[in-house]
């Protein structure tokens, strides 16, 4: 456990710096007020908006831990929104049926990726590229390329916009998903299996592990997470937008995982780190939105530039070359 905590230190420090910066720029950043029986404030907002990326990052962490990657999660999110819209609006299906069916289809989409990777034996980046390209097409096909408003179901609107225990319901969803995943993965042997597959596939097979089974389950789980994220996003904007739902979010999810300290080469993984990574990304977004320089707000366009610089710095810090440079300097000092 100490190692996992040590790993968590860097991402937490980065998040802390960002939050401090926010307080310096805007003293009201940490203030939380109650309006209409719901806590509101920047921190609550960050948690609320980070939910889709947190969910994606959970699945992505496990996939990356098996030395894979899933590029299709954004497209699967779009599929989830479109499917839910089709079922709710066109077919007037019951909400629980819609949720179960949508999550089921998204899990199947994940399973498809898993089959391509583990049974057909295609590299993960290529295998999931197929669904990344085709998935958005399927989502657009379901909605005829239109943005379908979903306003008939208050239950569906609750998913992404409701209040539960004085907080946005999304936070409850995110927290339960994170806790459930950590409990299932870390308090059973499953986590070890995943790390073993990512660390050395051949050795795992000789040890009697079902490498195939592990891979199939992590990709299916990622599809499920993407489905839930897609439902939340569609509920949040009360519409299915096949063109923009989840666009480039797969990159945010991968980024969150890397920020959290999990190596893209597979092996050791840090679920809590990935959650912190997702929070860093969202805090960064909020920071850029809220920061004012000389009374003028920073244009949203700078978001991408700053994000690029942060990614770059974090990647550099994680690279072996820089680590060696630091180690060497330390050795000289000692």
């Amino acid at each position: 456990m100490p190692e996992a905590l040590k790993k968590l230190l860097w991402p937490l420090a980065a998040l802390g710096v960002l939050l401090l910066f926010n307080t310096a720029m805007n003293p009201a950043f940490f203030s939380i007020t109650i309006s209409d029986g719901r806590l509101t404030g920047s921190l609550v907002d960050v948690l609320d908006r980070a939910t889709p990326v947190i969910l994606l990052a959970l699945g992505m962490t496990l996939v990356i831990a098996t030395a894979g990657v899933d590029l299709s999660v954004g497209a699967v999110m779009a599929m989830a929104g479109s499917l839910a819209a089709m079922l709710l609006v066109d077919m007037q299906a019951h909400l629980s049926a819609v949720i179960v069916l949508t999550l089921g289809v998204c899990a199947l989409a994940g399973l498809w990726n898993g089959v391509l990777v583990s049974i057909v034996g295609i590299q993960p980046i290529v295998a999931t590229l197929i669904l990344m390209v085709a998935g958005r097409g399927i989502a657009q096909l379901m909605t005829d390329g239109q943005i379908i408003p979903i306003d008939s179901s208050p239950g569906f609107a609750f998913l992404g916009g409701g209040t539960f225990l004085g907080l946005p319901f999304t936070i409850t969803l995110a927290v339960s998903a994170v806790v459930l995943t950590i409990v299932v993965i870390r308090f059973t042997a499953l986590g070890l299996f995943i790390e073993s597959v990512g660390g050395n596939e051949t050795a795992s097979r000789y040890a009697g592990l079902s490498v195939r089974g592990v891979r199939l389950s992590v990709y299916t789980f990622t599809g499920l997470c993407a489905g839930l994220a897609g439902l939340i996003y569609a509920s949040d904007i009360t519409a299915a937008d096949a063109n923009y739902a989840g666009l480039y979010l797969e990159l945010d999810a991968i980024l969150a995982v890397v920020l959290g300290g999990t190596s893209l080469m597979g092996g050791r993984f840090y679920l809590a780190g990935s959650v912190v990574g997702a929070l860093i990304i969202q805090t960064l977004n909020t920071t850029i939105l809220m920061t004012e320089i000389n009374g003028a707000s920073v244009p949203v366009e700078y978001n991408l530039v700053i994000k690029a610089l942060v990614v770059f710095v974090v990647c550099l810090l994680q690279s072996e070359t820089v680590k060696q440079m630091i180690m060497r300097r330390r050795a000289v000092h000692d």
Partner: protein, 327 residues
């Protein structure tokens, strides 16, 4: 006779290439029979002209993928270079710099090349995954494209030094189409006959072996990413010529289509195997698929994405069957 058949049978490494060519010919023939006016010279030239920016990006991407890497930044580089070129060319009274095209275009290309070289150097020196570095590059460049100017789209109309490039036409081929075709031929030659090309294949085959053989792996990696960004920047220039405008929002998800063209063209994504001419054929397939919905009328444009996905799957499966195994 059997000798002839034996000689005509494609070598295992050429099977995906032959398959790509066959799919293209089939697709083109079906389209020509099915749609009136498809078999025209005009349609053929505009297939190439309309896809020239994507085509150039795909050619650069071929070298990157041959070396076992990936470049996610090409779509963003196209956008930035087109809007950069536009703001250089437009006269000062319209908010531009009023440069001569003979200065502005080389400047754009040099900028693109330098950016790619920096990415390549970062990948090499810090041993970071190309996926992450070019992802950060994409964010940076797309952001810069949006930040560079208040306007998201700049028309380049009435710029004296630029207009001849726009009006240039030989046998219905406009400048983008001609540049694309020549770039393809040049890239085929570079991949096959130069030291750089052979080193690229060697790196993709096995980087450690390439290193042990004494090949210049480091400098070649830098050159590969510089070349990819140069191609993408040239693609941006061609987009500006083709549409007479610079556009910060062009090229979203274009990197996906470029990768798809390379894969459909038979290049192995693990690197080491593949041909530039395959990418050209893969791009023509994408071009035909993209244009079919406009002829079909009631067929929705999003079918193209699904068909591209299915084609990707088919070609990847074919590669697994036909390619020599990499160990």
């Amino acid at each position: 006779m059997t000798d002839l058949i034996h000689r005509l049978r494609p070598k295992p490494q050429h099977v995906p290439l032959v398959a790509t060519a066959a799919v293209f010919i089939l697709l083109y023939a079906v389209a020509c029979i099915r749609y009136e006016g498809f078999a025209s010279w005009f349609q053929a030239t505009s297939l190439i002209a309309d896809n020239a920016p994507l085509g150039l990006a795909a050619i650069g991407m071929t070298f990157v993928i041959l070396s076992g890497g990936i470049d996610l930044s090409v779509g963003a580089v196209i956008a930035l270079s087109s809007i950069f070129l536009a703001s250089c060319l437009v006269p000062p009274d319209q908010g531009g710099a009023g440069m001569h095209a003979g200065v502005a275009i080389p400047l754009t290309l040099v900028g693109g090349t330098a950016f790619g070289a920096v990415m390549g150097a970062v990948i090499r020196v810090f041993k970071l995954p190309p996926f992450l570095v070019t992802l950060a590059g994409m964010f940076l460049v797309r952001g810069l494209a949006l930040v560079l100017t208040e306007q998201k789209r700049i028309s380049i109309i009435g710029v004296e030094s630029f207009d001849p490039l726009v009006d240039f036409l030989v046998f219905d081929f406009n400048l983008p189409a001609i540049v694309f075709i020549f770039a393809t031929l040049l890239a085929v030659a570079v991949a096959k006959y130069t030291r750089f090309g052979r080193t690229t294949y060697a790196i993709g085959g096995n980087e450690d072996s390439a290193n042990l053989m004494g090949l210049p792996v480091g400098s070649t990696t830098v050159k590969i990413y510089a070349l990819s960004s140069l191609c993408a920047a040239a693609g941006g220039v061609l987009h500006a010529i083709g549409s007479q405008s610079g556009d910060a929002s062009v090229g979203y998800l274009l990197e996906l289509d470029a990768i798809a063209a390379v894969v459909i063209g038979g290049t192995l994504l693990t690197g080491g195997y593949g041909y530039v001419i395959g990418t050209f054929l893969g791009l023509l397939i994408l071009a035909v698929i993209t244009v079919i919905p406009t002829y079909e009328g009631d067929l929705n444009a999003w079918w193209t994405r699904i068909v591209i996905g299915v084609l990707l799957l088919a070609f990847i499966l074919l590669q697994r069957v036909a390619q020599p195994r990499k160990t």
